[in-house]
């Protein structure tokens, strides 16, 4: 019964979104009343899709196998959390999650955007509803998650074991929130193009949404990377896999959008480019969905795909993106460019940032799509692997990282590069010193390692240079400095912390790439091996049953160079329902470094084990967390100024003028 209720709710939401889309896009000049109705419709869409989603969750939780989806992807023995996350561990359910987040963002705009000018609000909600209608229609017609089975099986077919992990509960929702969040930027861009209202106020409304989506996407990608790292058992954290690139491209474009919207907001310049980026960013999100869902790519990752529906998604993609670009081509030439600036200025630096990021998107896009195009044109099958991306992406990021610390120190309009350089001298010297010291201690295993380290330290230290400078740290009493620091605007803090996070990630990447060590060896219980000063003793081998699997467990004792002992359990699991084996690597954290141990299949009582030592690998993800934290900090700042309805009242008439 509840399943039919869910199905009906989704149909109703689809109908409402269709009406909202036409209402908003055709009648947007009708004023306040229409905007109000569209806002209510947006909230209603959210409630209805929410009901549909809950109906699905309920069916999974109670293991109602008359629901085809639950029968194919669930199992009554599964722990509760995996029953719930299993809802989006398949194509149909994940489409519903996608729609849920789409309508959630629509409802948020309706809730927080009450002070938007009514024409803009109508257009934004109308465009958003059009997206909902497209995807809800697609789901209902081609991927209905509410299909029933006439003869329900007694037991479900189980979820792919590799997805039975806490990662599935966190990673897709975060990633989708990021992907789909950019739909708001897209809707705002379309609204701006239709209404012709493209000004600083527009940029101020769009930036918080961009920031919010960017934070989710950053967390989603970082989480996905860590999940793949511990679950796939290869010890890698980034494979330049097409599916990873699909999420990375919107991230790069979104990062560029964050920075260009800043120029538009502060200086009323780069308008056309910012609108273009807003459209591109969401288009890349859609392209990512298409690439992932269509199954046309070979990926190391596990996700739900269905090749038969790829063409439908491609058509939706072509219509939405094509329509937006057509609109862009028609309207963009009418925009008047705003503030002037010299090449050496904050604007100039942000343009450079956008240039490198956009080019990087292009390089990743070429690398991702080239095999598809070549296959279609010539039938030659190739793969563009990590070397291509390391080379091109690295070459593009190095100059970006090199100039990054200068950016925040340059003034708007016209700046003094030499003065900024002088302020960074101390940090530059410190970065060189640290690089030389570490290279001397750690040895130079790959020739680019010192350069990478230097860039990492340079970005990390250079980012906090402005904080130290402004606080006059060391030149005035400490208490006074701290008071100054506390009084700094949040935007300065979030810039510094965000860039610091990037620097930390770079340091982690360089450290692992250059100083990672590994051994592959055969070991019997009772024997000991060594790696990077750690002694690894194979204590015993046991069979331990889990809730829905059997685990062959190797129990190891690791003694750290400092003398600390830890027990590591590396498992090979066989899942009962499907008979699928998985490897669960054992990971032990030492400070920021990790020891990663993988157990191979036993042969005549001996076991192959593979152990990696990954120095400072945690910095990669800590850096991402720091970046996201900076984004959240920046959002709290924005909120004070315009998110809250009372304050935004002031912004609205200003924008209308």
């Amino acid at each position: 019964m509840s399943i039919e209720l869910g199905h009906f709710s989704l149909i109703l939401a689809f109908a409402i979104s269709l009406v909202s889309a036409f209402g908003g896009l055709l009648l947007w000049r009708r004023g306040e009343r229409l905007a109000l109705v569209l806002g209510q419709a947006a909230v209603l869409q959210f409630v209805l899709v929410g009901v549909a989603f809950l109906a699905l969750v309920q069916a999974f939780v109670v293991s109602d196998f008359s629901l085809a989806l639950a029968a194919n992807h669930s199992h009554s023995l599964k722990p509760l959390i995996y029953k719930i996350s299993g809802v989006w561990g398949n194509h149909e359910g994940s489409m519903l999650l996608w729609i849920l987040i789409l309508v959630l963002f629509g409802a948020l705009v309706a809730a927080f955007g009450r002070r938007l000018p009514s024409d803009l609000a109508s257009l934004v909600l109308g465009t958003q509803s059009l997206l909902v209608a497209a995807f809800a229609g697609f789901t209902l017609l081609t991927s209905n998650p509410f299909e029933r089975l006439a003869v329900p099986p007694l037991e479900g077919a189980d979820l792919n074991p590799i997805l039975q992990d806490i990662g599935l509960a966190i990673h897709p929702p975060l990633l989708y929130a990021g992907y789909v969040g950019f739909s708001i930027c897209f809707s705002f861009a379309v609204a701006a193009l239709i209404s012709g209202r493209i000004d600083q106020a527009w940029a101020r409304w769009v930036r918080p949404w961009t920031m919010l989506s960017w934070v989710f996407l950053t967390l989603g990608i970082a989480m996905g990377s860590y999940w793949a790292y511990y679950e796939l058992g290869w010890g890698g954290w980034w494979f330049w896999d097409p599916v990873e690139n699909a999420s990375f491209m919107p991230w790069l474009a979104g990062t560029a959008l964050l920075h260009s919207a800043l120029v538009m907001e502060k200086r009323n310049a780069l308008k056309i480019w910012t609108i273009f980026l807003a459209i591109i960013t969401f288009s890349l999100s859609l392209l990512g969905t298409f690439l992932v869902r269509s199954g046309i790519l070979t990926s190391v990752h596990t996700f739900a795909s269905d090749p038969t529906r790829g063409l439908v998604i491609l058509s939706i993609l072509a219509i939405l993106i094509g329509g937006a670009f057509l609109l862009f081509a028609m309207r963009a030439p009418m925009l008047r460019q705003g503030g002037l600036f010299a090449p050496i200025s904050r604007e100039g630096a942000l343009i450079l940032n956008n240039l490198f990021l956009a080019t990087a998107v292009g390089a990743v896009l070429v690398g991702t799509l080239y095999p598809l195009v070549l296959d279609a044109l010539t039938g030659t099958t190739i793969s563009v692997g990590a070397p291509f991306f390391d080379f091109t992406f690295g070459a593009l990021m190095a100059p970006l990282l090199l100039v990054l610390p200068f950016g925040p120190l340059l003034a708007w309009k016209r700046a003094d590069l030499v003065a900024a350089g002088q302020r960074l001298m101390g940090m530059a010297a410190l970065a060189v010193f640290l690089t030389v010291l570490i290279s001397a201690l750690g040895g130079v295993s790959i020739s680019l390692a010192p350069l990478g380290l230097l860039l990492g330290f340079w970005v990390s230290l250079g980012s906090v240079a402005e904080l130290i400078e402004r606080a006059k740290l060391g030149r005035i009493p400490l208490g006074e400095s701290l008071r100054r620091l506390a009084g700094l605007p949040r935007s300065i803090w979030s810039t510094a912390i965000g860039h610091l996070g990037l620097g930390l990630t770079v340091l982690g990447i360089v450290s692992v790439s250059a100083w990672e060590t590994e051994i592959v060896t055969t070991l019997n219980p009772g024997e000991t091996t060594e790696l990077a000063g750690y002694s690894i003793a194979f204590d015993s081998f046991e069979q331990i049953p889990g809730p829905n699997y059997l685990a062959d467990t190797g129990i190891f004792t690791v003694t750290a160079p400092g003398g600390g002992m830890a027990r590591l359990d590396a498992e090979r699991r066989i899942y009962v329902a499907s008979g699928t084996p998985t490897t669960e690597a054992a990971i032990q954290t030492y400070g920021l470094s990790q020891l990663y141990l993988q157990l191979g299949e036993p042969l005549d009582d001996t076991h192959v084990i593979r152990v990696w030592h990954k120095p400072y690998i945690l910095l990669i993800w800590i850096g991402c967390l720091v970046m996201s934290g900076a984004g959240i900090l920046s959002l709290t700042d924005r909120r004070l100024r315009l998110g809250a309805p009372q304050r935004a009242r002031k912004a609205a008439p200003e924008a209308a003028s």
Partner: protein
């Protein structure tokens, strides 16, 4: 920055400023494009089936991806040193891999190995890919098997 350059910068016209920026953009884009082209020429990895490897006489040491089915009863192991035969029904190639094979590496199932041919006409794998799904055969392998007329959907595949 000296006084003189300051003066000059102030003296830049709107047009000059725009030209400076556009010239900068063009240079970066040109460099990036050449980077991508060079990398595409040198860094891409071709996917070959065993028949391709034999027919094209793939040079030793050139990185390739080799895909096909693991031949029945061909997998032997000494410690971490694995030897198995990859076949596409037509030709077969002996592959060596030092390490832990993926969970779903099985005789009779699809496999993609990264590595290069050694001088003796055998394949040295640096990485063996098998997706974590017992029904999965990589698309490239399916195509290669179809080309050899060896494709039997009921034996696996999506």
């Amino acid at each position: 920055m000296t006084m003189q350059t300051n003066v000059r910068r102030k003296g830049m016209t709107r047009k000059q400023k725009r030209l400076t920026i556009i010239a900068g953009l063009a240079v970066v884009l040109a460099i990036a494009t050449s980077l991508v082209l060079v990398a595409l020429r040198d860094q891409i990895v071709f996917f070959y089936s065993p028949s391709d490897v034999v027919a094209r006489e793939v040079a030793a040491g050139q990185p390739i991806r080799l895909g096909g089915l693991v031949k029945e009863a061909s997998w032997t192991r000494q410690g971490q040193q694995n030897t198995f035969t990859i076949t596409d029904g037509g030709m077969e190639v002996v592959a060596h891999y030092n390490g832990i094979l993926p969970d779903l590496f099985r005789e009779g199932q699809g496999v993609v190995a990264e590595g290069s041919m050694n001088g003796d006409g055998e394949f040295t794998a640096t990485n063996v890919l098998a997706k974590h799904d017992e029904n999965y055969i990589p698309k490239e392998v399916v195509d290669a098997l179809k080309a050899q007329g060896e494709w039997r959907p009921e034996a696996g595949g999506q």
